[in-house]
Subunit: 300 residues, 2 copies
């Protein structure tokens, strides 16, 4: 039995992950309460203890973190959302508390890629996963092995510089997409777009207008497609994958940005890279990180 934990900026999700990819006994804890209470690490240790007591057949615990991990995968080096967990030897701490349990830690975006690898609908041995949320994260699996790079924190693809001098994340991240849409609406002097009627913008709202044929909404996704295409080109040139999976909020609009994304890739890459290129939606949505954290234990 495996316990998967997905640490996020606002909450930490626990769940027992079965080999078929179902999550049982899921529980959610608010990060701020832990930090303000006994401290994040002490609170997490206590809740892990509760799970181990309730489910004595748990053999391993995998934990995904939204931050930097040491090359030896024993320490959380930096956790921007929970600054107190900095340079924390979390694996040794947990191991000393629960000596018979296997503990593994990994970056959360890399966990999401592992989740797709072990439990996704469209399993591939070699692929890059881009999670398009508030931030843009990346996880890459190469021939069945999670790629962590030379010092352990590779595939931070959201921070690549794109062709207009702005990073991928600062254009495709949800807030940036909304800012860009507002700017485009201000420029839309003819007031032709039905998006003007919306009080609150979100990827879903913009997508709904694109689905109704709104020209501005369609053009915004064309812009997103071009940026994602350029990002894919750079990723493919550096790590040579021919499957790109897209997860997170904006990926739901894939039908509207995929044509331009593909056209951009075709423009920049020769046949070797594009011949069998597959770009599609990731299948696990919000559970990818927790499932992938459990996957860390399956990796052994």
């Amino acid at each position: 039995m495996i316990l998967g934990i997905d640490v996020g900026g606002t909450s930490a999700k626990f769940g027992i992950v079965h080999p078929d990819g179902t999550i049982k006994h899921a529980k959610r804890f608010m990060t701020a309460e832990w930090v303000d209470g006994d401290g994040f690490v002490a609170s997490m240790t206590k809740e892990i203890g509760n799970f181990l007591k309730e489910f004595p057949s748990i053999k391993g615990v995998g934990i995904g973190w939204p931050g930097l991990i040491s090359l030896d995968r024993k320490r959380v080096v930096l956790l921007p959302n929970i600054p107190s967990v900095k340079d924390c030897p979390i694996v040794d701490i947990l191991k000393s508390e629960f000596p018979h349990i296997v503990f593994r830690i990994e970056n959360d975006a890399k966990c999401a890629a592992l989740g797709e690898y072990y439990f996704g609908k469209n399993r591939k041995n070699t692929f890059a996963l881009l999670t398009l949320g508030t931030g843009v994260g990346g996880g890459i699996v190469l021939n069945g092995k999670l790629f962590i790079g030379g010092r352990g924190n590779a595939t931070e693809v959201g921070h690549m510089i794109m062709s207009n001098g702005i990073t991928l994340e600062n254009q495709v991240g949800i807030q940036h997409l909304i800012s860009y849409t507002k700017k485009r609406l201000l420029d839309d002097k003819g007031i032709t777009s039905s998006l003007h009627e919306e009080e609150e913008l979100s990827p879903k709202v913009i997508r709904d207008h694109a689905a109704k044929g709104d020209v501005l909404a369609l053009d915004i996704f064309k812009h997103i497609g071009r940026i994602l295409g350029e990002g894919a080109v750079n990723i493919i040139r550096v790590v040579d994958v021919n499957t790109i999976l897209l997860g997170g909020g904006i990926s739901g609009a894939i039908e509207f940005f995929l044509p331009e994304m593909k056209a951009t890739i075709e423009k920049w890459l020769p046949a070797y890279y594009t011949e069998n290129l597959y770009i599609g939606q990731a299948s696990l949505e919000n559970d990818a990180g927790l499932l992938g954290a459990a996957g860390l234990i399956m990796e052994d």
Copy 2:
């Protein structure tokens, strides 16, 4: 004893590589003569046979190719400069001719990185090598292992798209540097640059003027530094290395472009990546490829 072979667009260099990194009995064959004669592969096979006869203690032959290599490292998939060597099962061909010899093949830029890894002055376990020549090639070693990516042809870093919508190679490659310099000279209406006096431009000529304090030449290297800095940022984000080695013609001007390259990197990357970042010249120059080809045999 190891025979290293460095196949180039115009010539193929052979040499016996000693464990201390010296090359003995070097020989050079013109590619065009091989192609026009018995064909490239037959001619190469014959010359390998001659070497094996002359030096019976050769146990392995490593060959670097300026093209794409199959993931199983047995076939040359594509060789733009020698189109007849396409999808050629070169390792099986050589093995059937010389069954007792170990044959290994690799991309030439990756060989250059292996050369630096085994024989360079400033050996590191984890680094990216950029070769700044007519083209811009890349080879990356991660924790002592050459990185070939998911499908075998990773680290084509010269073809990443930079912040002005042009690839790294199409700005930093020698011909592009010269074109850029000519354009800047045309714009230099005040005729203040001493570069106007030169009949023929080359990286060395531009560097010499920069060394004399020519403002335009210095500004050109500043431009190069910014582009290389952006390239380094994207590479570092994707593969997480903290050593960048620069080889090839333009790397001789490193003192003039390094400050801007570093400033660009500092602008885009947080402390984790920059704290112990080292950027320096590669040490092997033109022999890197041949030495690295021999390194393929040492890898076992």
